[in-house]
């Protein structure tokens, strides 16, 4: 049996809108519209989709914060909404845009509270804290009041706080949002290590495709509250016909490059040209072909972002969404 199990789970919000002085109009919004999936122990899954697709709502139902309107939902055999506090011992949650740390107190005070609130045995607490402090480089931050930490430092602090009680599942909502490249890399490395050495199941929502590429073997795409794709990341590119961009700087302004097989000319700006090629294809032969035929100075490859992949996958959905929000 999967560790996390959703069976046609629904969450419907009733939105009341003023239409007159007193008159209200009731409308139903299906934030999550019949989602089913299972995640096994030790899996690391990316959960992606545009804003308002229902990602956070799903995560909140999995933690028991929100009660599903319909369907069946189990995490570690527990019904989250019914036994929220019991489940809390088994899960760790990191919301990228919301901290659980105590603003005015040194970082270590927040950890001490976790120690007591989660009733973590002393030895285990010590061991987990030492590991997190070591791997997330928190040693010098422990005595610093949280309000003085940078965004990246606080995120690392938050991740450590979510792991002190050895959760079986870790939910991460935008864990790398707003972080610089170095902080991002450190967070990713830590998560990978957590997953491989501790076997912690990780469910991660993100806008950053690189997070998914470097961490997740499996990706789920949600849009309009429905599961649109569930499989490998490579498959997503194939389904979405997503393209990467090759940006080439030539020696001088030249006519559009159209003679390289597999590449499509997008636009040019002086000596710089943009070529699109399928995300599933390798960039190396393409670069070689361009370099062989044209005076090449510099180049870079741009990864497709998730928004673009999904927009392409389900063309027109964006417009519909905007309408439904009106």
């Amino acid at each position: 049996m999967p560790f996390i199990e959703l069976d046609t789970v629904e969450k419907i919000f009733t939105v009341r809108r003023k239409t007159g002085l007193i008159r209200r109009e009731k409308r139903e919004v299906r934030a999550v519209d019949g989602i089913s999936f299972g995640v096994d122990r030790g899996e690391m899954v990316g959960y992606i989709g545009p804003n308002g697709a229902g990602k956070s709502t799903t995560i909140k139902m999995l933690t028991g914060i929100l009660t599903p309107t319909g369907g069946r939902l189990r995490v570690a055999g527990i019904d989250p909404a019914r036994e929220r506090t019991r489940l809390a011992q088994r899960i760790g949650v990191v919301f990228g845009q919301r901290t659980t740390l105590w603003w005015d107190l040194p970082l270590k005070d927040s950890y001490r509270l976790m120690h007591r609130m989660y009733r973590i045995p002393d030895a285990r607490y010590r061991e987990n804290l030492d590991r997190c402090v070591d791997l997330l480089d928190l040693e010098e931050l422990l005595d610093v009041p949280v309000r003085q930490l940078s965004l990246g430092q606080r995120m690392r602090g938050d991740i450590a706080a979510a792991l002190l009680h050895d959760p079986d599942v870790l939910y991460l909502d935008e864990p790398t949002i707003g972080l610089d490249v170095v902080s991002k890399a450190r967070v990713r490395e830590f998560l990978r290590d957590l997953n491989t050495t501790h076997g912690t199941t990780v469910l991660l929502t993100t806008h950053d495709l690189t997070d998914i590429e470097q961490l997740c073997s499996r990706v789920m795409v949600i849009d309009h509250g429905r599961l649109m794709y569930d499989g490998e990341l490579a498959g997503l590119h194939a389904v979405g016909e997503s393209e990467r961009l090759l940006v080439v700087d030539l020696e001088r302004e030249l006519p559009p490059i159209t003679d390289v097989p597999g590449a499509r000319f997008v636009r040019s700006e002086g000596p710089r040209q943009w070529l699109a090629f399928p995300a599933t294809a390798s960039a190396a032969p393409l670069v070689a072909a361009v370099a062989a035929r044209h005076p090449l100075l510099d180049l870079s490859v741009r990864e497709p972002d998730i928004e673009a992949v999904i927009a392409k996958m389900y063309g027109g959905t964006r417009e519909e969404r905007r309408e439904s929000l009106m």
Binding site: F13, N51, G52, S56, T57, K60, T63, G64, I65, L66, T67, A81, R84, T85, R86, A88, Q89, I91, V93, F95, Q97, R98, T99, T100, W102, W103, D104, L105, D109, L113, R116, M117, Y118, P145, D173, E174
Partner: protein
């Protein structure tokens, strides 16, 4: 219950330590808090400088009413007063982080932003109560003596239950805190004065609808040897524990319903 108390202690402790990082600010708020509540009583003192009695009650008798409700409300406000600010947590979604912890939500929210300065209100209420007891000319019986602490405790519980009930509505209406305040702060002010000076409809409302009269009026009138208001039997003076229990049950049900309908916010 034990779990709630434990959680409350932990969270309140964190807030006390947070407040202590700004010591000067803390000292200042304690001072202002004490002044505000003190002047509250000065009003009654001044009034008795002009009149001999208020609705047939002497100064000592009014002081007893004031001291009882002041202490009860002070205790409820100290321990549960933060509930009125839960609306903000619901609106900005920061209640989510509380819900993810393996601890009772009510204890976490009640201890949220725990402010020791509110102890000033309890201290002031107790001072007035002691003063009233010194001045009062009452034939004390063991029953009347026991009635005093029971009244303070039950009164605090009734106020606390009203605060929880009010906070429950915040799950649906985040700006309804002022309605609750009119029952808690407003109720406290009402109960400081003898029931004889108010319109009978109002008194009936506080006896039968929102049972605030059980906080101090009914037991205090019994101690003072006066008839119970609004046609209540004399034995109603001892009904406060029962009323407090009913209030808690209602508040508990409302709180559960509130949590279940919590909608969170988009992150």
């Amino acid at each position: 219950m034990a779990d709630s108390l434990r959680t409350y202690r932990m969270v309140a402790g964190m807030w006390i330590r947070s407040t202590m990082t700004y010591r000067a600010s803390f000292a200042l708020t304690v001072f202002t808090s004490f002044c505000v509540t003190f002047f509250d009583f000065v009003v009654i003192l001044l009034m008795f400088g002009q009149v001999r009695g208020l609705g047939g009650f002497s100064f000592a008798e009014v002081a007893l009413l004031y001291g009882l409700t002041g202490t009860s409300f002070g205790i409820a406000d100290l321990t549960m007063g933060s509930l009125q600010r839960m609306g903000k947590r619901v609106r900005d979604g920061s209640l989510d982080t509380f819900l993810m912890r393996p601890a009772p939500l009510l204890a976490q929210v009640a201890a949220d932003k725990f402010a020791l300065r509110r102890f000033g209100r309890v201290a002031q209420g107790l001072m007035v109560l002691v003063w009233a007891l010194v001045l009062l000319d009452v034939a004390w019986t063991p029953v009347k003596v026991l009635l005093l602490p029971m009244t303070v405790v039950c009164g605090a519980v009734i106020f606390a239950a009203v605060m929880v009930l009010g906070a429950s509505t915040l799950f649906w209406m985040q700006d309804a805190a002022e309605v609750t305040n009119s029952f808690t702060y407003g109720g406290n002010t009402l109960l400081q004065y003898p029931p004889t000076i108010f319109a009978q409809e109002l008194v009936r409302g506080v006896v039968y609808v929102v049972p605030l009269a059980f906080v101090n009026w009914l037991p205090a009138l019994h101690i003072l040897g006066r008839p119970a208001p609004a046609g209540m039997p004399d034995a109603a003076a001892f009904a406060s524990p029962l009323v407090a229990a009913v209030c808690c049950a209602v508040a508990g049900l409302a709180w559960r319903a509130g949590i279940r309908s919590y909608r969170s916010t988009g992150s």
